[in-house]
C-alpha cells in the first residue's frame, strides 16, 4: 500500500476518537446546566408548539420519557445515538430541524472556506519564502511590516475598511452570496445544484455569469479571511526558511554550482513548507471561527446564520448545540486536508505515522 494512503487511513481513524472526546465534553458541559436546558434538546416539534401543555408538565414529561435523571454516561450514549441517527433536535428559535438547517447552509460556508484556503496557502508560502530568501533586504522589510500589521488588525476592522471602500464607495463588490434576481435563477427549476458551490454549479449549468457573480461576492470575504492567516503562515515560513538556508545541504547545493533560484525555491522552500503547513493545520479551528465572523459581517448566508439570531434574542440551546457539534465536524476535514498536504511534502511524516 502506498505510504500516503496508509497515512490518510491513520488520520481518518483518529477522527472518531477526537469526536468522542469532544462530544463527551460537550454533553458534560450540558450536564452542568439546569435540566430545562437539556430538555429542550429532546423537545419535538409537536411538544414545543402545543399550547395546551404547561411548561413544567412538559418538562417533567420529557425528563421522564428521555431519562434525563440517569447518570451521565447513559445519557451521553443515548444523546450520541440520536446524533448518529441524524436527530439533532427541533429548534424553537428558528422553528426548524437543526441538522437540516445546518446542511442547507453548508455549501455557502464550504465555498467560502475553500477559496480562502486556496488563496492563503500559496500567498503565505511564497511571500514568506521570498522574505526569508531575501533576509534583511527591501522585500523582507516590506513583507515583515505588512505581515505585522495584518496580524494586529482585527478581521472585522479589515472587513469594514474593505466594505467602506469597495462596497459603499466604489460599488465594485456586493454583499451577500448572490443578488436577488440571480438567487431566483439558482433556486429555479432549470438550475441543478450539482455541488452546491455556486461558482462551480454556474459553469456546470452553462451559466458562467452566475459563476462570475458568485466569485465577485466572494472577493471581499475571502480577502478578509485570508489576510490574518496569510500573515501567520508567511511569518512562520519566513522563520523556517531562514533557518533552512543556513543548513549544510544548502551550502552543498550552492557549492555544486546550482542556481540560487533552484536552491531557494526547490530545496529550501520544500523543507520550510512543512512546519509552516503544520502550524496552519493546527490553527484550522481559528480559521473556521474566522469564517463565521466573516459570514456575519458580510451577510453571507452560511452556517453561522443558524445561531446568530439565537445569540441576539432568547438563547436557543438546540441550535447552539447543533452548531457546536457541526463546527467541529467542519474543522476536521480542513485539518485533514492540511495534514495530507503536509504529508505530500514530507516523506518522513508519511512513513513514521504510517507505521505507528
Amino acid at each position: 500500500m502506498p505510504a500516503l494512503l496508509k497515512f490518510l487511513i491513520r488520520r481518518l481513524f483518529a477522527i472518531p476518537v477526537t469526536l468522542l472526546i469532544i462530544t463527551a465534553m460537550l454533553y458534560g458541559v450540558l450536564m452542568l446546566a439546569p435540566v430545562s436546558a437539556r430538555a429542550q434538546l429532546y423537545m419535538s416539534r409537536g411538544e414545543s408548539n402545543n399550547p395546551n401543555l404547561r411548561p413544567e408538565v412538559l418538562l417533567q414529561q420529557i425528563i421522564d420519557s428521555h431519562g434525563l435523571d440517569d447518570p451521565y454516561p447513559i445519557q451521553y450514549i443515548r444523546w450520541m445515538g440520536r446524533l448518529l441517527r441524524g436527530d439533532w433536535g427541533w429548534s424553537p428559535g428558528f422553528r426548524g430541524d437543526v441538522l437540516k438547517a445546518l446542511l442547507a447552509r453548508t455549501p455557502a460556508t464550504a465555498e467560502l472556506t475553500l477559496y480562502a484556503v486556496i488563496l492563503l496557502i500559496p500567498l503565505g508560502i511564497i511571500g514568506g519564502g521570498l522574505a526569508g530568501a531575501k533576509e534583511h533586504k527591501a522585500a523582507d522589510h516590506i513583507f515583515r511590516i505588512v505581515a505585522f500589521i495584518a496580524t494586529a488588525i482585527p478581521s472585522f476592522v479589515l472587513a469594514l475598511v474593505l466594505l467602506g471602500i469597495f462596497y459603499a464607495g466604489l460599488k465594485w463588490f456586493p454583499l451577500g452570496r448572490l443578488s436577488i434576481s440571480e438567487h431566483y435563477i439558482v433556486t429555479g427549476a432549470n438550475f441543478t445544484p450539482y455541488t452546491g458551490l455556486l461558482t462551480l454549479d454556474g459553469l456546470l449549468n452553462g451559466r458562467p455569469e452566475i459563476s462570475l457573480s458568485a466569485l465577485r461576492h466572494l472577493v471581499l470575504p475571502c480577502i478578509t479571511l485570508s489576510m490574518v492567516h496569510w500573515a501567520t503562515l508567511g511569518r512562520m515560513t519566513r522563520a523556517v526558511m531562514i533557518e533552512e538556508l543556513h543548513k549544510d545541504y544548502v551550502t552543498v547545493a550552492r557549492g555544486k554550482g546550482l542556481k540560487e533560484r533552484l536552491v531557494v525555491w526547490r530545496h529550501a522552500l520544500h523543507n520550510a513548507m512543512i512546519p509552516a503547513l503544520n502550524s496552519i493545520a493546527l490553527s484550522a479551528a481559528s480559521l473556521i471561527t474566522g469564517v463565521f465572523v466573516v459570514e456575519v459581517i458580510f451577510g453571507f448566508p452560511g452556517v453561522s446564520e443558524v445561531v446568530v439570531n439565537s445569540m441576539r434574542g432568547a438563547p436557543d440551546i438546540v441550535a447552539a448545540m447543533g452548531f457546536t457539534v457541526y463546527s467541529v465536524l467542519l474543522v476536521m476535514p480542513v485539518m485533514l486536508i492540511l495534514d495530507v498536504l503536509q504529508a505530500v511534502f514530507d516523506p518522513r511524516l508519511r512513513d513514521t505515522l504510517g507505521e505507528q
Partner: protein
C-alpha cells in the same frame, strides 16, 4: 549579554514598553482624564452632557464636550475609549494568564508522565484543537445564560480560556519530552526528588520561555478577538468593541462616502490596533531576549 540587557537594548521591546505604559497610564488616570460627571454611572459609557439618548440618530462630530464626537445615541467616544482601557487590560491579562496556566500544566504533566495518562492528555489537547472558539461562546451563552449573568462572568472570556490553551500545552509538552532525559533531570530523579519538585523546580524553568513569548502576544490577540465577537453581536462586550457596535450602521459611511463618519470608526480601531501592536512587539522583544538564535 544578559537577558535583561538584550531586552532593553532592543528597539522592539522599548517601543512595546512605551505603548503598554501609555495604556496603563491612561487606565490609571482615567478619573482625571475624563472626569465622571455622574457617580451613579459605573459603566465606561457616558452620554454627551445635555442630550437625550433618543435625540441623536446620527453620530455627531467632534465638538467641545466630546472631543472625539459621539456615536448615534449620543455616547461620548473619547470617554468610552479612556475608560475602556481598564477593562481591556484586565480582560487581556486575566484571560491570558489563566489560559497559559491551564496550557502549561497540561503540557507539563503530559510531557512528564508520557505513559497512558500523558497520551490521553495529548489526545484531549488535540481534540480541543478542532474546536472553534466561536462555538464555545455560543454554547456557554446558551447553556448558562442565568448563571453567567448572576456571576457577572463574561462568556467570551470563559470560551477563550477554555479553547486557547492548546498551543501552550503543545509547546511545553515538546520541551518536556526533550528535557526529561537530560542528565540534570536524571540526577534530580536519582537523588530522590519527588516528581512535582522535578516538574516545577527543574524542568519548568527551562521549558517555559516559548510560552512566555506566546503569552505576551496573546494579551493583545485576546482583546482583539473579544472586540471581534462583541462586534458581531456575541455576548456582553468590553467598551472598545461596544463603541463600535453602537455605531455599526454608520461605519461604512453613507451616500457613497466611506469617510463621512470617520470619528465613529477611526479612533476606536486605532486604539485597538495599537494595543495589539504593543503586545505583539513585546512578544518579539522577549523572543529576541530569551532565545537569541531560536526560530519564531
Amino acid at each position: 549579554m544578559t537577558i535583561t540587557r538584550r531586552f532593553f537594548t532592543n528597539w522592539q521591546s522599548l517601543l512595546a514598553l512605551c505603548i503598554i505604559a501609555g495604556y496603563v497610564i491612561v487606565a490609571i488616570s482615567a478619573p482625571w482624564l475624563a472626569p465622571q460627571d455622574d457617580p451613579q454611572n459605573p459603566t465606561p459609557m457616558r452620554l454627551l452632557p445635555g442630550i437625550r439618548p433618543s435625540a441623536l440618530r446620527v453620530p455627531s462630530p467632534p465638538q467641545p464636550g466630546a472631543v472625539l464626537g459621539t456615536t448615534p445615541g449620543g455616547w461620548d467616544i473619547a470617554y468610552g475609549l479612556i475608560w475602556g482601557a481598564r477593562p481591556a487590560l484586565c480582560f487581556g491579562l486575566i484571560t491570558t494568564l489563566l489560559t497559559a496556566c491551564i496550557g502549561v500544566l497540561v503540557g507539563a504533566f503530559s510531557g512528564y508522565l508520557e505513559g497512558a495518562v500523558g497520551r490521553l492528555l495529548m489526545r484531549v489537547t488535540d481534540a480541543f484543537l478542532t474546536f472553534p472558539a466561536i462555538a464555545g461562546i455560543v454554547l456557554f451563552q446558551c447553556a448558562f445564560p442565568l448563571f453567567l449573568r448572576k456571576l457577572q462572568l463574561n462568556p467570551i472570556m470563559l470560551a477563550l480560556i477554555a479553547f486557547s490553551w492548546m498551543p501552550y500545552a503543545r509547546l511545553i509538552h515538546a520541551n518536556f519530552i526533550s528535557l526529561k532525559h537530560t542528565e540534570y533531570a536524571m540526577a534530580a530523579k536519582t537523588t530522590g526528588a519527588p516528581p512535582l519538585r522535578i516538574i516545577f523546580r527543574h524542568l519548568l524553568p527551562n521549558a517555559i520561555t516559548p510560552a512566555i513569548v506566546l503569552a505576551a502576544r496573546d494579551i493583545g490577540g485576546m482583546v482583539l478577538l473579544e472586540a471581534t465577537f462583541t462586534f458581531i453581536g456575541m455576548g456582553a462586550g468590553l467598551p472598545w468593541g461596544a463603541l463600535l457596535v453602537t455605531s455599526r450602521d454608520w461605519i461604512i459611511g453613507a451616500g457613497g462616502n466611506p469617510l463621512i463618519y470617520w470619528w465613529v470608526f477611526a479612533p476606536a480601531t486605532l486604539v485597538l490596533i495599537v494595543f495589539s501592536i504593543g503586545w505583539n512587539l513585546l512578544g518579539d522583544g522577549l523572543n529576541t531576549a530569551l532565545n537569541p538564535r531560536g526560530r519564531r
